[in-house]
């Protein structure tokens, strides 16, 4: 009994540490990447290559006072940032980094991650509502409508995958794709010839789920001051920021597990945690790359993309896969 409690504590501490370190250093990677794309060096003053920038930012944020605006709903205002970070850390518990490195393997891991991912929209809604700021309310309305409309094609795509593999366990999902890149779910198979399209849809949806450019309607700086976290300073803002980057890591991990064979090597050699990390950091780089390439979409364009393109195509793919699974 005591061993299981110890295990749980170690798992939680490891998950928090992984999420926090990633969040801090992805900010650095994001700023360096943005700099390179715009032909400037990015943060390079603090430490070698600017590697001490994240600790400096963290100390600065922690040293600041939390200001609660007058008329704000204090309870909701304080809960919202914690609610942004907590589901992200919870999701890490069930993500398998390799065959052995997983905090708690569940047979409904997919379901659990999507349940917690949906809580992210809740934190944005509470932040906007609680801070009694019209820009924050507008931003949270946008972000929530965006999250709802992108959850649908994402989940339909996941249903397609679950139908094909017949499991919701993330470890078994990866085990089903072992052996090389021709076994990955992203590669078209006889039962599901439109799998690359599904992969693209899932990729776009996970970009939208993290509220990042080009889908950053929730914090459109040029239109809505800073969006739903307009009134937040100090670590309240810091938690939203870290939550966003933790969600990026989860999005990349999910894409890797569902489509790119998890910890398996593309050629079937030496499966292990290094392949998983390599894959998620390549995906994270592509997230950063996309963010600094495309301008923000309009809210209409954003909802049209989801309802008129992604949902019909993913539904068609679901029906096609269902039919072909019966045939073969």
């Amino acid at each position: 009994m005591s061993l299981t409690i110890l295990n749980a504590v170690i798992a939680v501490v490891a998950a928090i540490a992984f999420a926090a370190v990633n969040a801090a250093y992805l900010v650095w990677a994001e700023r360096r990447g943005a700099g390179r794309i715009q032909r400037r060096p990015g943060p390079n003053v603090n430490g070698p290559l600017g590697l001490l920038q994240p600790p400096c930012d963290g100390i600065k944020l922690m040293a600041k006072q939390i200001m609660i605006p007058g008329g704000a709903d204090k309870a909701l205002f304080m809960v919202a940032p914690a609610l942004a970070m907590a589901p992200a850390i919870m999701s890490f518990v069930t993500i398998p980094f390799s065959d052995t490195i997983v905090a708690h393997s569940m047979n409904v891991g997919v379901l659990m991650i999507f349940a917690f991912a949906s809580l992210g929209a809740m934190s944005i809604l509470l932040a906007g509502w609680g801070s009694r700021n019209k820009y924050a309310v507008m931003a949270s309305v946008r972000a929530v409508s965006q999250n709802i409309s992108y959850e649908i094609p994402m989940l339909i795509t996941v249903i397609t995958i679950v139908m094909m593999t017949g499991t919701m366990d993330l470890k078994e999902l990866v085990a089903g794709q072992a052996g090389g890149m021709w076994n990955w779910n992203a590669v078209p198979s006889l039962a599901s010839p439109l799998m690359p399209v599904s992969f693209l849809i899932f990729f776009i949806c996970s970009l939208a789920e993290t509220n990042r450019a080009p889908f950053d309607l929730g914090e459109a700086e040029s239109e809505l001051v800073a969006g739903f976290h307009t009134e937040y300073g100090s670590m309240g803002f810091g938690l939203f920021f870290m939550g966003e980057y933790a969600n990026i890591v989860i999005g990349a991990s999910l894409i890797t597990i569902l489509f790119l064979g998890g910890w398996g090597c593309p050629l079937g050699l030496f499966p292990g945690v290094w392949w998983f990390l390599l894959k998620i950091y390549i995906l994270i780089f592509s997230f950063i790359w996309i963010r600094w390439t495309f301008p923000r979409t309009t809210i209409y364009g954003l909802l049209n993309l989801s309802w008129k393109i992604l949902i019909p195509i993913s539904l068609f793919n679901l029906l096609l896969t269902a039919g072909l699974l019966k045939v073969f």
């Binding site: 794309i37 032909r39 400037r40 790359w289």
Partner: protein, 156 residues
């Protein structure tokens, strides 16, 4: 239906083109200068505040005529001189002559509008524009330049 799919494909194609462009830019060298650590040399025609020009012996070319002082619309230039006697050969005989020597040349940069009228009006090519641009201070006195002293410091 055809228009629907062609729109999707054209949209995707344009997105990929954009991604290729930024990927190429990613590996190109940076074009910015880390300013406080490095500065760039100003171009030949940069017009900073004025500066005295020296002759071959290192003395100012200025003969203290005061044309720049009169030309200055803001009254930013103030100069002083003294008379010096010197011996010179004129038509085969030594004579004592007088000339003016610059003793003070101050520029009040707080009122200077960098119009360049002083440089235009100088008949002896004794002043020019400097290339200084790191001119920031919290004290007014820092902008009262003693140009004669600057010339001597440049020579020493």
């Amino acid at each position: 239906m055809g228009a629907y799919f062609s729109e999707i494909f054209l949209g995707l194609k344009s997105l990929v083109i954009g991604l290729i462009i930024t990927f190429k830019e990613f590996f190109k060298p940076v074009v910015t200068v880390p300013y406080p650590f490095k500065t760039i040399k100003m171009s030949e025609r940069y017009r900073g505040h004025i500066e005295l020009i020296e002759d071959e012996e290192g003395n100012p070319k200025c003969i203290s005529c005061g044309a720049c002082q009169r030309a200055c619309p803001s009254g930013s230039i103030s100069l002083a001189s003294k008379s010096v006697e010197y011996e010179a050969m004129v038509k085969g005989e030594m004579k004592t002559k007088k000339k003016k020597v610059l003793t003070k040349y101050n520029l009040n940069f707080t009122t200077c509008s960098l119009c360049g009228q002083c440089v235009e009006n100088c008949n002896f090519g004794a002043i020019t524009f400097s290339k200084d641009y790191n001119l920031a201070s919290s004290r007014k006195e820092d902008f009262h330049f003693d140009l004669l002293k600057r010339l001597q410091e440049r020579n020493s």
